[in-house]
Each structure stands twice: as C-alpha cells, then as structure tokens.
C-alpha cells in the first residue's frame, strides 16, 4: 500500500470528509474521480450525505453536469432495452441483461451515476443465430465486417462481434458465456441461466441473481487486461454487496462461487474490498474461502493489483504504475487467451493450408539459382531484422501501454508499426532463403 492514500480513496472509504474539503481539495477530488469514472459516484455520496450545500458552487456545477449526463444515458438505455426486448419478443428466449444495463433495470444503487458505453446481454448459444438475424432485420449492423474478425470472435470469444444500431449508434454486445472460450476458467453458464430472474412487466428480459451479479463482476475485473476502470469496478462490487443486505450473503456467495468454479475471483474481490475500500460484507470472513486472506492473492500479484486500484490520475501514479499495468495487461491476455496454445495453432493452420500450394507454387524460388552463401546471408539478415523488429515492437508496446504517446520523438504507434513491418519483412526473407 502507498503511504499516502489518494484523496479519492479516502472519500470513498469515508464520505463524511466531504463537507470539510476546501477548494483545492475539491479540485483534486473532481479530477481524480473524473479520471476514474467515479465523478457520478461522488455526486451520489454528496446527495446521500446531504452535503450539497457545503459544496462550492463551481464544483456543484460539475457534479450536477455529470449527473445530467448520467440521467440522459439512463433514459436512452432503458429505451434501447425496450426496443431490443420488442425486437426479440417473438423468439421466446430469455435475454439476460448484464452489468450496467442490468443494474439500471433493477434500480440498484450500483447504477447511480455509472456511465457505460455498451449494452451487454447474455443469451443461450443455440439461440445466437436467430437473435442475431432478428436484430439485423431491425437495423443492427455488425461492427466487425472482415472475415478474420468474424471468425476470431466466433471461434475464440465469449461474445459475437458487437452490433451497432445504424441510426441510434447504440452498441450491443451479445454474450453466450461470461469468459472467452479459450480461457482457463470455463464456468458452467447454464447454472447462471437457471438462477437468472425474470423482470416484472417484461416479456423476455431477465437479469442474473444478485449473487451471480457479484460473481460475474468480480470474474470480469480479475480477468481484465485493461484495468483503467479497476477502481470503479471495485466500487461496483461494494455497492453490489451492500445491495444484498442479507447476513447469509457471504455463505451464499462462497457456495455459489465454488459451484461455478469461480472461487478465486470472488476471494480476490473480498480481499481488495477490504484492503482498498476497507469494506467487508456482513458476516464475511476468510474462513469462507478456507484459508488466511493473505494467501488468496499470490504475493507477486498483490502489489500489482493494489497499484491498478489507485485512481487513474497522474496525481496518483508513480514509476511502478506503468510496469504494473503492463504486467497485468500480459496477465489478462494470458488468462483469457493462452498464447502458447493459440499462436502455434494459428501458425500450423496457416502453414497446413499453404503446403498444398507449395508443391506447385515454388517454381519462382527454385528457378532462381541461389547460392548457399546467398541463402545464409539472407537468413542472417532476416534474423537480425526480425529480432530488431520484435525489440522495437516490444519497446513501443510497453511505452504505449504505460501511457507515452511519444517515444524518441515519434508516435509510439508509428514505432510499433515499423517494428511489426520489420518482423513481417524478416519472415518473408527467411522464407525466401529456405
């Protein structure tokens, strides 16, 4: 833990401090909260505590503006859910709202002030085609049009390529399970379907059970590779836990997490709720997870996540932040998609297809009377260029992830592209020299 707690965390832990803030502290708080997508949450903490009068006028405008933005989003999302529900009503299959949309529809406190971009729904995999077809008839278009992306999503991901409404611009993510098909965790999604709860006054719209909502949110947070909203997600978890309001919650949560084989994200969540937000759901102790809390998060991961949960603002970052976010980025990808399986598989597939061609197609190579030395030299050049390209890409990639727009005076994306081009070129040279 850092020695000095960022102001935003102090306030999230103890909102009673709000009326005592002076103008400069408000300045810092608004910036930290805005950068962490938690300004809406601050507005509600102010309202809940009845502190609005004590907030400087200038600050009040920012809080109220954020709330207006939220209210507008809320109405348009509720309207969009109505449209989606109507479009899919004739299919007679449950549509389970996930995350932001579900919180809104349920009216949970976690929805208050929470800004989100896409509507996420979960549907049965065997109904995907019908659902997609119905939506496409009503103006929803696929955002990823090329074949590779389409195949990529459908083969490896837990969702189909997002759809976008052609006039309203809303983006709809359709999931058929909660984690990518390639990830090491493969919870039995049917169990979540079975426990889902239909909404009153709705024909075909359901939401996950409260416990499953918590588990889903925790699972996502600790599988994520981009943790720029980590703190917001942790606050979500606190509000979801508070929403349960039952003393049995912890027992239920533990048993359910075991049943779904998702115990570890839940125990991570409880651990960080306690260490970062100093919150512990009623009756929760770590006996529930059969061990001491220190053991739940591996030693090398704990400080990385602690860093990631700091406000996403330059006043709260240090030299370690970019390193931590880069390592977590790698970790996230590793969990969701094991490269050691994926890359060889893809390469093998690509080569297998080319083999047939090669028998006839290499005439232009064999016709060239290449000397052995020539080959060797080309091979060396290829190797050098390839390694240089790889290093450059890594350098640019790390730089970009750690937030530098510019490296050595060039846009980091330019460097990344150059690096990739070098690697591609080296592959061609190596192929040619074989």
């Amino acid at each position: 833990m850092p020695i000095k707690l960022p102001l935003l965390l102090k306030i999230l832990v103890k909102p009673d401090y709000l009326p005592d803030l002076d103008d400069s502290e408000w300045d810092l708080l608004v910036r930290q909260a805005r950068a962490s997508s938690l300004l809406g949450q601050i507005y509600y903490l102010v309202m809940e505590g009845g502190y609005l009068e004590s907030v400087p006028e200038r600050v009040r405008h920012h809080l109220q503006s954020e709330n207006r933005y939220f209210e507008a989003q809320k109405k348009s999302v509720l309207w969009e859910i109505d449209n989606i529900s109507g479009t899919l009503a004739h299919l007679d299959t449950p549509i389970i709202l996930l995350k932001g949309a579900a919180y809104l529809k349920r009216g949970y406190s976690v929805s208050r002030g929470r800004i989100f971009n896409d509507i996420d729904i979960l549907v049965r995999q065997d109904q995907l085609d019908r659902i997609e077809a119905s939506l496409k008839q009503k103006g929803w278009l696929s955002t990823h049009l090329n074949d590779y992306d389409q195949r990529y999503y459908r083969q490896w991901m837990h969702e189909i390529p997002p759809l976008k409404h052609h006039t309203r611009g809303t983006v709809l993510d359709i999931h058929h399970t909660i984690l990518p098909l390639t990830s090491s965790n493969r919870p039995d999604i049917m169990k979540m379907f079975d426990a889902s709860e239909p909404l009153v006054n709705e024909v075909n719209i359901s939401v996950l059970s409260k416990t499953d909502m918590f588990i889903h949110s925790a699972t996502h947070l600790f599988h994520e590779s981009e943790l720029s909203h980590a703190l917001r997600d942790l606050v979500d978890l606190r509000l979801l836990a508070e929403e349960q309001g039952s003393e049995l919650f912890c027992n239920e949560l533990t048993n359910r997490a075991k049943e779904l084989d998702l115990s570890w994200p839940v125990s991570y969540a409880l651990y960080y709720l306690k260490t970062i937000l100093q919150y512990q759901p009623a009756e929760c102790n770590h006996d529930h997870f059969g061990g001491k809390e220190e053991k739940t998060v591996p030693l090398f991961l704990a400080p990385l996540f602690t860093r990631a949960f700091m406000p996403n603002h330059h006043s709260c970052t240090n030299f370690f932040s970019p390193v931590a976010s880069w390592l977590l980025y790698i970790r996230g990808h590793w969990l969701r998609m094991p490269f050691y399986l994926l890359i060889p598989h893809l390469v093998r597939k690509a080569l297998a297809r080319d083999k047939n061609k090669k028998k006839h197609g290499r005439f232009f190579l064999t016709n060239l009377n290449k000397g052995k030395d020539m080959n060797k030299m080309l091979g060396t050049i290829g190797l050098v260029v390839g390694v240089a390209g790889l290093l450059l890409s890594l350098f640019a990639g790390i730089g970009r992830i750690s937030g530098s727009y510019y490296l050595m005076g060039f846009q980091s994306m330019t460097l990344l592209n150059v690096g990739i081009s070098m690697m591609v070129a080296s592959c061609m040279v190596k192929l040619y020299s074989e």
């Binding site: 109405k75 348009s76 509720l78 309207w79 449209n83 109507g86």
Partner: protein, 94 residues
C-alpha cells in the same frame, strides 16, 4: 385492423404549441418532432388511451368534426406508420 397502439407510459410525451404547429419531445429516443394539428390530435388521443385505426377514425371525426371517409382512414394509417417508425407509439401489450 384490430392492432392496438398507444404511447408507452414509461416515456410520456412533452408538448409545446405555436399556433397550428406542435413540438413534441419523446423522452425515450430523445428526439423532438414538429407535427401539425391533426397529427398532434391523433397522437394525443393515443396518449390518453390505446386505440386501433377504426376507433381513431371515429374519435377524430367526432372531435374535429371531420368526415369519416377513406381519406381520413388513409391519413391515420400513414400517421400511425410514421409514429411507429419514430418510436412514438408502441404495440399495446394489454
């Protein structure tokens, strides 16, 4: 034509009038539309209670003292289609 259409109570319309022209705001879509007297009247009838085309023709002809003829029927069919397209009215579930 026994389909009943109405304004979704979740998204009540907001009105403003300038002479023969009416501005109507739909809180769901967030869109504002400018409509004439007859269209405004039709929409307000649907706001009060869901109706089908035949009922609308009767109500309109009564309240605006218009002939209950094919023109009116055709007009209402068209207006309903437009309202549906704009999301102002929804198929009445009850």
């Amino acid at each position: 034509m026994s389909d009943y259409w109405g304004v979704d109570k979740q998204f009540p319309l907001h009105w403003h009038q300038w002479g023969d022209m009416h501005a109507v705001y739909h809180p769901g879509s967030g869109q504002t539309h400018i409509v004439d007297n007859l269209a405004a009247h039709t929409l307000k009838l649907l706001e009060t209670e869901p109706s089908n085309t035949a009922e609308l023709v009767t109500k309109l002809s009564k309240s605006l003292d218009m002939d209950k003829d094919d023109d009116l029927y055709e007009y209402i069919e068209k207006a309903l289609d437009e309202f549906k397209r704009l999301g102002l009215i929804a198929y009445n579930k009850t």
